[in-house]
């Protein structure tokens, strides 16, 4: 448990938490490794956990009609994957799959929501961290949509 606590303390997700809050969080966490190709989350499944990545690389994907896969973004160590656990109906929006051997800390989502309901300050800090991730990904997605490297790029 102390190893898990150390890893949690170093992860950016806990930047806003007090020492006590990190300990509290550690009670609802477990270390979960993934091999390349294994799914962390699957689209439309109940999102009963989210992951703090500590090593490796994972891909956020969308399965298209006919089975073709569209890779939207990748995330590496230090990232938080999954936010659908925080908002009803608590279902995953996309697939998340390990592209290489990856270590994660899995957080039990129902337990996390219970802790948040008991402690508004903990809930605020958690929501703040999740929203930071949402804002970052939204901003990156908008840039991706701009197609900034199309043939109108400046250096030519």
């Amino acid at each position: 448990m102390s190893d898990l606590l150390d890893v949690l303390k170093r992860h950016p997700f806990t930047n806003q938490y007090s020492g006590e809050e990190v300990k509290e969080l550690s009670q609802v966490c477990s270390s979960v490794p993934f091999e390349a190709g294994e799914y962390l989350l699957k689209e439309n499944e109940v999102c009963d956990r989210f992951y703090l990545l500590t090593t490796g690389l994972v891909s956020i994907e969308l399965r298209m009609q006919g089975g073709e896969m569209l890779r939207l973004q990748t995330e590496c160590a230090g990232a938080t994957v999954g936010w659908s656990w925080l908002f009803p109906p608590y279902r995953c929006q996309f697939d998340v799959r390990a592209l290489e051997s990856s270590k994660t800390i899995a957080v039990d989502a129902p337990e996390m929501r219970r802790l948040m309901a008991q402690d508004p300050l903990f809930a605020y800090r958690t929501t703040f961290e999740v929203l930071q991730t949402v804002v970052e990904r939204l901003s990156q997605s908008r840039l991706q949509l701009l197609d900034i490297y199309s043939t109108t790029e400046s250096r030519s």
Binding site: R71, T74, G78, S139, L143, Q144, Y149, R155
Partner: protein, 271 residues
Amino acid sequence: MIPQLFKVTRREQDNPETFTLVAESQDGAPFHFAPGQFNMLYVFGKGEIPISISGAPERSEQVVHTVQDVGLVSHAVCELQPGESFGLRGPFGRGWPVEKTRGRDLLLMAGGLGLAPLRPVVYEVLAKREDFGNVVVLYGARNEERLLFQEEIREWRRADIDVMVTLDLAAPEWHGRVGVVTSLCRPALQMVDLEETIAFVCGPHIMMRFSVRELQKRGLPADRIYISAERNMKCAIGHCGHCQFGPKFLCKDGPVFSYSELQPYLEVREL
């Protein structure tokens, strides 16, 4: 101001729209330049365009340009074949402050063709690797087909340069990173000493704007971030005013500036 004659000795296609041309002076004179400087290339009967130099500074027997085929003149440059001649004026402008980075960590952030003007910096690092701290290259491209210098990137990695590549659009068989180049800032800045790092950023204007913002958000001050600005260079010696940006002439005062130098003018929407 008078173009010198150069002859193409090698032409390589980097991707469907981008070509690298290696050329030599017809009078055999050596060509010296600093990383980040540019030349004015003149194709007879077509016109003249500014192109950054993408070769190694120590290879003074040749000059290398990487050009994307996007307009009349750039198309004519890309069509030049080995043995054919063109006019060259240069080198012009102020390049990357490589000397300032010796003994420190260096972050090179490139988007699309922006890797070409940064490549001479990598060559400088490779020439004396022990003079530099951690060197990290962040490179974003539209898709795998558009990636530049792939074989060289493998060599850079073998020479103790960390290179992180990301694609905006990836096919299922791509097993690397996907997302905009700014998404690499977080992991990259964990690999360097933030207090000792200097960043060089080059790419499309929007890419540079958001990259600088991301670097600043993560603690890198504006005076340690350098960008390569480019706009309508014509005379290349600060006389015609085509590239004027506020009080600066980008061709003569730049194209490389510290972000703190340009920031006041970049924030004026009308400029």
